[in-house]
């Protein structure tokens, strides 16, 4: 190869342009930022998308749930305790599912009581024709009645004690609304003698004391109930125009007690409506979509409020942990050396204390509300994880050239830390703090489930408390534990899927591997 071949004469060189500066062409395409890329890759993960939709739905339930029902967490009505979940639509269509009904298998006496309630109140208590099976036990034949019971209508009639003023107000209400709330009082002499049934207002028919001090029904010749209503003696101050069975004033409607008090038999459903009409709290009729618990509290309201509390607590904990952990971890990671070793020992010590000990000691020492104790213990043990993540990121990035450049240009430590290095850690920190949320909710639920933390005060409740109550009635009323369980399971499952998607999306090393 000869050198002449490469000789280019200087005339061949021309200036590209003689005026103005030269610039690179601007890029035509839009830059893909870190977050846009993460979002794009997250959107490709179908399971995560479904999970985030469900999470959004659960959050929505927690936010607007308490506004959807007229009930509050503090509301309780012992008469409607243990009623089953009821959906008005299903009840009206006669679908035997979610209709407030319960499949029962009872003996004849109990069945007859339900039949009596049905006959007196005129509302359907026995929803299906009973199937009678005969069983022989120790030489005695007994009949078992299997049928579907309407747990709402089975409440029937109750005794209430009212003052004269209240009694008259109730009569006025009867006339105004044209409903029979007050039922004729039964004759005290004919009421059941058995001790357990003396205050049972539902026995309006003739009974006798049977074997084993049990109340036994007495029937007439045709096998019907014999009413034991007290005949009118004109002393009951009953002025309402509503009469039982359309009769003129044939019976007494109230029984005078000591003082200014009247003992009255009320149709409890109508009385319930009346009470809430007086209180004007928006409750139109007893209907609980998730049923009630042993105290007669609405499970739906409890669940929605508990969920709301859990979400709020978890979000606050995760944000506070993020802040404290990020600052602590930044200092650790940036300065390194002795500072790092000392601060890291402290973190190690703190994170090896079992959570149970922290919360118990806090509970013993401070007479504060359990919400505060819960928050403090989550904070004390939680921020160390965030600090560790931040520290790792700082170790990765603090020796890179651009940090050196920034320092050479005279940037202060705090500027390098938070303007230059910290943004690199944001991805993992966001993932981490989102994943803290289900952990906090789970711990909070477990703690209140175990009874270590009692969040069940006033207008506050937690999913764990609902679960613990439901656990007690697992075999008899499984609906109490069913709905909180579904909620917490769905939440945990979706958060795990969502978290997995988020972690993959924010992991730059996975970029482009799916395509």
């Amino acid at each position: 190869m000869r050198a002449e071949e490469y000789k280019i004469s200087s005339e061949k060189f021309v200036f590209r342009s003689t005026s103005g500066d030269l610039h690179d062409n601007k890029l035509e395409t839009k830059p893909v930022t870190y977050f846009r890329d993460a979002l794009h890759r997250f959107a490709k993960n179908k399971a995560s998308i479904v999970a985030s939709v469900i999470i959004a739905f659960l959050v929505l339930f927690a936010i607007i749930g308490p506004f959807l029902t007229p009930y509050t967490v503090a509301y309780e009505d012992a008469s409607y305790a243990y009623v089953l979940p009821k959906n008005k639509l299903f009840r009206e269509m006669g679908i035997h599912f979610w209709d407030g009904g319960q499949n029962k298998e009872v003996n004849k006496a109990t069945y007859e009581q339900f039949r009596a309630i049905q006959q007196e109140t005129g509302r359907e208590v026995i929803m299906t024709e009973p199937v009678v099976t005969e069983t022989v036990y120790m030489g005695k034949t007994s009949e078992l009645y299997s049928f579907r019971l309407d747990t709402y209508n089975a409440v029937g009639v109750k005794y209430v004690l009212l003052t004269t003023a209240e009694y008259q107000a109730l009569q006025a209400y009867q006339d105004e609304k044209q409903v029979q709330v007050i039922l004729p009082i039964t004759d005290p002499d004919l009421r059941p003698q058995a001790k357990q049934d003396v205050n049972n207002a539902n026995i309006w028919y003739k009974t006798k004391l049977g074997n084993g001090m049990k109340t036994t029904t007495v029937y007439d010749a045709d096998g019907n109930f014999i009413p034991i209503y007290q005949a009118n003696d004109g002393k009951d101050l009953y002025t309402s125009t509503m009469y039982w069975e359309g009769d003129e004033k044939l019976y007494n409607y109230a029984e005078p007690m000591a003082g200014d008090i009247w003992n009255i038999r009320v149709d409890y459903r109508e009385y319930y409506v009346y009470q809430h009409y007086l209180a004007d709290d928006g409750i139109k009729e007893p209907i609980f979509i998730f049923g009630t618990n042993n105290a007669g509290k609405d499970v739906f309201t409890g669940l929605a409020s508990g969920a709301r509390f859990s979400f709020i607590l978890a979000i606050i904990v995760s944000v506070v942990n993020l802040f404290v952990g990020a600052i602590y971890g930044s200092i650790e990671g940036y300065y390194g050396g002795k500072i790092d070793i000392m601060m890291e020992r402290f973190v190690e010590l703190l994170s090896s204390i079992p959570f149970m000990i922290v919360i118990t000691l806090l509970k013993y020492h401070f007479d504060a509300s359990h919400v505060l104790i819960l928050f403090i213990s989550f904070f004390l043990t939680g921020w160390t994880g965030m600090a560790g993540r931040t520290r790792m990121q700082f170790y990765r990035f603090k020796n890179q050239e651009y940090v050196l450049v920034a320092r050479t240009l005279g940037a202060k430590d705090s500027r390098i830390m938070f303007k230059h290095i910290f943004p690199n850690a944001i991805g993992t920190l966001i993932t981490g703090s989102v994943l803290v949320i289900p952990g906090v909710i789970f711990s909070e639920t477990s703690l209140s489930y175990l009874g270590i933390i009692n969040l069940n005060t006033g207008n506050l409740t937690s999913v764990g408390t609902l679960l613990a109550t439901g656990q007690t009635y697992l075999f008899t009323y499984p609906h109490m534990i069913l709905f909180p369980s579904i909620f917490i399971s769905l939440l945990m499952l979706c958060f795990n899927l969502f978290g997995n998607g988020l972690r993959d999306a924010f992991n730059p090393s996975l970029r482009g591997t799916e395509d």
Binding site: S352, P354, M356, L474, P478, L493
Partner: protein
């Protein structure tokens, strides 16, 4: 020699952590006012006299020295005051009495969970992205996410209550003695009779709790094994193994599995250390008279001696499990030099 030094250093650090936390805990507990209220019909002065005799009103440093001395010399962790059923009984005796059910249930569930979990994980990894893998992965995801108290309740409701396949409650000693009249079993409190625990009746009554406990572990092991094994299966030495003529099975068992066990084995070791501690939730649901239930009871009734002892126990088990997990990395894979620079 290097390893020995390292182990000593780690154990020393662990003891230091333990002492700091335990002493802090002790001081914080002793700072609390002593509750001398008693049940109806009992004498307060008796309780106060008992507390005084044990020196519970002395300065805290003095109490600490005495507490440690008693533990070391006499094995005396104090006595119960607040829980009616353990009032006046030595904490250590009650603890020993509660330990067998907890340990047995944990061991059974580990024995069930480890092989099944690893087998499922291997199967899923080998069938990666086929329907078997999707089925296993989805189930695993469900069992990892759903809290144990949910599926424990579900298990109790369906298997034990509706289908009546397993007993509803944990068998008491009275049940066992009644079930085997021919064996002439006797229970004396404070002693340990193996034949009371190892019989069919007791085993069956433990099964619901064992199942509930193992579901989570099975899912955990399956996920862990699958993740590790899929990573190893794609590495280059697997290709080499196949190239030199090994069958897929040979290559998987001898090369992939051994390497994927490196992070899995330590967690199995950790699991067998933590059999001591058990689960508070499971013990509550299945009403197992174990350590977890005792701890819960002690916390809720503020029985400080029990609380101190059991907290120390849980702390020690946790720290020891962490340490053993760390150290077993070096044992199972000599290439890993723990703590090396």
């Amino acid at each position: 020699m290097y390893m020995f030094k390292y182990i000593c250093k780690r154990i020393g650090l662990m003891i230091m952590t333990f002492v700091i936390i335990f002493v802090t805990c002790f001081v914080l507990v002793k700072l609390l006012p002593i509750d001398t209220s008693v049940g109806f019909g009992e004498d307060t002065s008796k309780i106060i006299a008992q507390f005084e005799a044990r020196g519970y009103f002395d300065p805290i440093p003095e109490q600490l020295v005495r507490y440690v001395k008693r533990i070391v010399l006499e094995g005396d962790f104090g006595i119960g005051f607040r829980m009616p059923s353990y009032r006046g009984r030595a904490v250590w005796d009650v603890f020993i009495e509660k330990l067998p059910p907890t340990i047995l249930i944990n061991i059974y569930s580990s024995l069930l969970a480890v092989p099944i979990g690893i087998a499922l994980g291997i199967f899923a990894a080998l069938k990666k992205n086929k329907w078997q893998d999707h089925l296993i992965s989805t189930t695993v995801m469900v069992f990892i996410s759903v809290p144990s108290f949910v599926y424990a309740s579900l298990l109790l409701f369906t298997i034990c209550f509706k289908l009546q396949l397993l007993p509803l409650s944990f068998a008491s000693f009275a049940d066992i003695i009644r079930a085997y009249p021919e064996k002439n079993l006797v229970y004396t409190p404070g002693t340990f009779n193996w034949s009371l625990y190892f019989n069919k009746e007791m085993f069956l009554s433990m099964l619901p709790a064992v199942f509930a406990m193992s579901f989570g572990s099975i899912a955990g092991y399956a996920r862990f094994t699958r993740a590790e094994l899929t990573e190893v299966l794609t590495s280059e030495f697997m290709l080499l193994a196949r190239t030199k003529g090994l069958t897929k099975a040979q290559a998987t068992v001898h090369h992939a599995l051994r390497n994927s066990m490196v992070p899995i084995f330590p967690s199995i070791v950790g699991e067998f250390i933590s059999v001591l501690s058990g689960s508070l939730v499971i013990e509550k649901i299945f009403q197992i008279p174990g350590v977890g239930g005792l701890y819960l009871n002690a916390i809720n009734s503020q029985d400080y001696d029990f609380f101190m002892m059991l907290s120390g126990f849980y702390l020690l088990v946790g720290l020891a499990a962490g340490l053993v997990i760390d150290l077993s990395y070096g044992v199972i894979d000599p290439r890993i030099r723990m703590g090396a620079k």
